[in-house]
Symmetry: C2
């Protein structure tokens, strides 16, 4: 049996007694509401320091209807039949680590704590919606990894702020932060063309995911301006295995390919392996451009030339948008779109 080490936690009452004022006054000082005489303020602050007082969140939450918490929902809701919904697969993409890390740090600045939720089953989805609806969190940061996800709409209906990473597949009145994905695709095309590639190919993510489609569209759009009327492509999961498989298919269709644009860095890594298997040297025979600038970009040989997403900034902006909307629920949905940047390394 271990002893109970819990120490009595001081309450407002205690501080008030020490400071010789009322609870209400202490509350005002702590929340900086209304004017409080400077002298009193000082006394109270001293009492707070002396007692080591910290507000009880449950009590505060009960009356303010605010919890100081935000849900971070990772949705893997399957679009089509047979699709597996596994949000923890998203967690195994190191790029995602950059995003989540960004959330945690940004929310912390606002004194908001992230509650991690997976929406990987219908029940879990309901739970996430309810969690929001009941006010267990003040708002939601949503990362959806699948295409036509109904969750954004459901969360918005819960009547509390939601900010998404990436624009929703179907129009929903929700705030989001996104990357100009098509510009990213253009950057990649421009680079490959400038490099002298004559046979371009696309190893794309799932085309029902807006980001994947936009990247592909941007790539083809810019390729077309340089005379590439037809750019063959193969789509697959946003994973290493997906990239490898798609590349195999591409290679079967166009053996002479010399420039590949992959939907993300994990797929690019898969492409690298497939190319090597088929005896192609990168970048000499085939140039490869990835997407994200995930930590894996420097864990490949050659290092990946890739289209960078400023994930941390994007995550921080999401947090800002969310907090704004929590503070003023009347604010309309807003979108912030970041510009991608080509990071030159060795693969192209």
């Amino acid at each position: 049996m271990t002893e109970d080490l819990r120490q009595p936690v001081p309450t407002l009452e205690d501080v008030a007694r020490v400071a010789g004022v009322s609870r209400a006054t202490v509350s005002r000082v702590i929340n900086g509401k209304r004017k409080v005489a400077a002298a009193v303020q000082e006394t109270v602050l001293a009492a707070v320091a002396e007692t080591g007082y910290v507000p009880n969140r449950a009590a505060r939450s009960l009356v303010t209807r605010r919890t100081g918490m935000a849900a971070v929902v990772v949705s893997g809701s399957a679009a089509g039949p047979g699709e597996e919904a596994d949000p923890s697969r998203a967690l195994s993409d190191p790029f995602f680590g950059r995003v989540v890390g960004g959330f945690v740090r940004a929310l912390r600045r606002h004194d908001v704590h992230p509650v991690l939720l997976f929406a990987d089953t219908p029940e879990a989805e309901d739970q996430a919606v309810n969690y929001l609806r009941l006010g267990n969190v003040d708002g939601t940061l949503l990362v959806s990894t699948h295409g036509d996800d109904p969750l954004p709409g459901r969360l918005v209906e819960a009547g509390r702020p939601v900010v998404m990473f990436s624009r929703p597949a179907r129009p929903v009145p929700v705030s989001y932060v996104d990357l100009a994905n098509s510009d990213g695709g253009r950057l990649a095309a421009e680079h490959l063309v400038a490099r002298g590639c004559t046979s371009l190919g696309l190893v794309s993510g799932p085309l029902d995911v807006p980001a994947a489609r936009d990247r592909a569209d941007g790539f083809r759009d810019r390729a077309a301006r340089h005379g590439h009327a037809y750019v063959p492509g193969a789509a697959d999961d946003f994973t290493f295995a997906g990239g490898e498989a798609a590349t195999e298919r591409l290679l079967a269709e166009v053996p002479g390919i010399d420039g590949v644009f992959a939907g993300n860095d994990l797929m690019a890594q898969g492409a690298l392996h497939a190319l090597r298997t088929h005896g192609r040297r990168v970048p000499d025979d085939v140039a490869v451009v990835g997407f994200d600038d995930s930590p894996v970009a420097t864990q490949t040989r050659p290092h990946l030339t890739t289209v960078r997403q400023p994930a941390e900034e994007m995550a921080a902006t999401m947090a800002d948008l969310l907090v704004e909307r929590i503070e003023d629920p009347g604010l309309p949905p807003r979108s912030v779109v970041f510009d991608p940047e080509l990071v030159l390394r060795d693969s192209a």
Copy 2:
């Protein structure tokens, strides 16, 4: 301006009115405490369904002193000077995704929600400790990525349950779930020796991290039983770059090495690249064994033969231990140690 979609959330009072009983009775039915007449029970349940009632966590928490939340703390507290403390680096190890995914799913079964906290600065560390001490969470699941971390001790002093992933570097009365790391090292040595390797080497994680040290010790121990009196080693970060750098050093010391045991899969991946750079073929010239069975193990060519940690099970066990201790704070610290398993693939 968007309309406020929030709907009035029913309270106990509402349910009581609909059911024609008192709040207390409804509360009893909901919490399954004490005996309630079957007929009344039914009426209440019907009323709950009709109103769509769900308990308000803040209110409940205020009186029960329980929040239904657990902190998931990722500590990157630096041991030595000059060490960078970046928990989001841990998030970029896909193995970590397996662990966090395990936490989320296991806690969900207990109806406990995970709050993600980084202890990456002294302030953040204080915050985490306070968060626990004040009862904003019922307990903590701690993953420490650095060696001599003072956080476990501090969290335990907060007087609430803490369960660690991996045993603490210094003795602290805390529950933990661990892998028999030295057995894992033995498994690797055994396999390499059986394969006919004659010149073994170690690409180890930071030696102040117990897991890294245990793996190395186990490896050397078993190697010694097979006559390998001296096993050269190089230690570095648990990262791709760390594995690459350590392998370079090892290769400089022992050019003829033909069997390498890496501290984790990320390091093994780095080793693979370093070996290739130096013209060594894997597994023909050098056999490589990794550790973790992280998602990266199948994202290398050749695929990694590796020592598997049952991460999801370990995470689930941590959640169980934590919940047990939350429910009965008198329970002494307990440890659960899992057995590693060699997963044979192509690198060794």
